[in-house]
């Protein structure tokens, strides 16, 4: 009895230590790579090479802007604000950690191609944990819904969660505008180094659109 107790207590200590230092367990393939490969498959024959697109063309019809995001299994729900780029070149993240931002230069959720990017604080000064802190508990297959300004909803299914070094986020494919339509949820991830800019990683959760 006593030995079991000691073991449990020691295990508890170890578990605490691990939770504090480690990243959440990631899963799923790197969607960007898979998508890039599919997108860059060479055309049959010696057709024209991909190049900046043409001028003078009619734009595709506007896609309604997103208004809120939900992950029902985690009881996660957050209103969405459109956000842009700060003078330092980083995405503006809503100050209120109960709200999330849609990077307005990424495709609107429901657009035909590319990664629709949603960002949110994992924690904020004086405001505790953010709504996206729950992303550490997502599982493959979890349903995600994005409600839009016109009252419609776009459905997604989570396929991967990756921990990406902050300086590797730009190249991770999270901001691609072509290829498979996906929803990419981005927050911060451990470790947190107070003297080295805080969080060292981003948590990148990818969900693919579910056909209706």
């Amino acid at each position: 009895m006593g030995i079991v107790g000691v073991c449990l207590i020691v295990l508890l200590g170890l578990t605490l230590a691990r939770d504090d230092s480690g990243a959440p367990a990631d899963f799923g393939a790197d969607p960007a790579r898979a998508v890039e490969q599919a997108a860059s498959a060479p055309p049959a024959g010696d057709g024209p090479s991909p190049a900046p697109a043409a001028a003078d063309q009619t734009r595709p019809p506007a896609v309604p802007a997103p208004s809120s995001v939900r992950i029902p299994r985690l009881r996660l729900r957050a209103p969405i604000d459109p956000v842009g780029v700060a003078p330092d070149g980083q995405v503006v993240v809503p100050e209120d950690p109960d709200r999330v931002g849609w990077y307005r230069f990424s495709p609107s959720p429901g657009a035909g191609a590319g990664s629709s990017v949603i960002v949110g604080h994992v924690d904020a000064t004086g405001r505790g944990l953010g709504v996206l802190a729950a992303l550490s508990e997502v599982r493959e297959g979890d349903q995600v819904a994005v409600d839009r300004q016109d009252g419609s909803t776009v459905a997604y299914r989570i396929t991967s969660r990756r921990t990406v070094a902050k300086n590797a986020l730009g190249e991770s494919g999270a901001f691609r505008r072509e290829g498979l339509p996906t929803l990419t949820l981005i927050t911060c991830a451990a470790p947190y180094l107070r003297d080295n800019g805080g969080y060292q990683n981003n948590l990148v959760v990818t969900a693919v659109a579910v056909p209706r």
């Binding site: 900046p52 911060c188 947190y192």
Partner: protein
Amino acid sequence: MTSRSAGAAMALGTAALLTLASGAPALAAPQADEATVSVLHAVPGLTVDVYAGDKELLPDFAPGTLTDPLKLPAGSYDIKVFKDGEGPKGTPAIEKTVQVPAGANATLVAHLTADGKPALDAFVNDTSMVPAGKARLTVRHVAAAPAVDVRAGGTPVFKGLENPREAKAEVAPGSISADVVLAGTDTVAIGPATLDLAEGSNTIVYAWGSAADKNLALKTQTITGMHSAPSGVPAGETGQAAGVNRTAQIGALSAGALLALGGAALLLRRRTDAG
């Protein structure tokens, strides 16, 4: 003629060019030896036929028409512009040898000089990456008009632009109301016109026509796909989500250790009692 059919016509012309360059490895040319070329007709009132050498490239090319971009083998092109139906034996209205460098994205512009004479110029389009959250705006003065200022929402963005020069800048994306005034004045020569500047793209605006003939106008060309990723997503502040701060972690570990020690002590005592 629509832009599309002009593009198709040019494609035919290109095919002819390729055939002409027999023996040259043009057909198997790798991408690096190609250039992307669009053609803009900015000479008012003159429908023309455009020739490369003695091959017709663009028949019945109407003023204000911009072709779709085309892949052409890099090299030197002897471009002749004839009044509709007068080529290729007659005297061209414009003739110029144009260098098309490998890998370049260029727009060939038939236009008027500042004093109203037909001219041909190749402008290289800037297709370098645009910083995240910005739009590139390029303005080209190809009109028979003196130096101009280009304004957005009434504020000069480019000043003293002369034919056949261009000016460019990276600006906030979105809709702007642009007009063109005589340099240093508030005398509006063109516009205002609404320009939709898309993030990560290069919107190229041509001021063309003739001030004397009162047909100055704007023509817009858009090149997309130069967007870049933002430099980061700063989405955490306190470290709370990483299992609070270091002190608390050590505290938790210490508590665990203390409990373990306590447990061990208890165990030891029980053993002693039993023995």
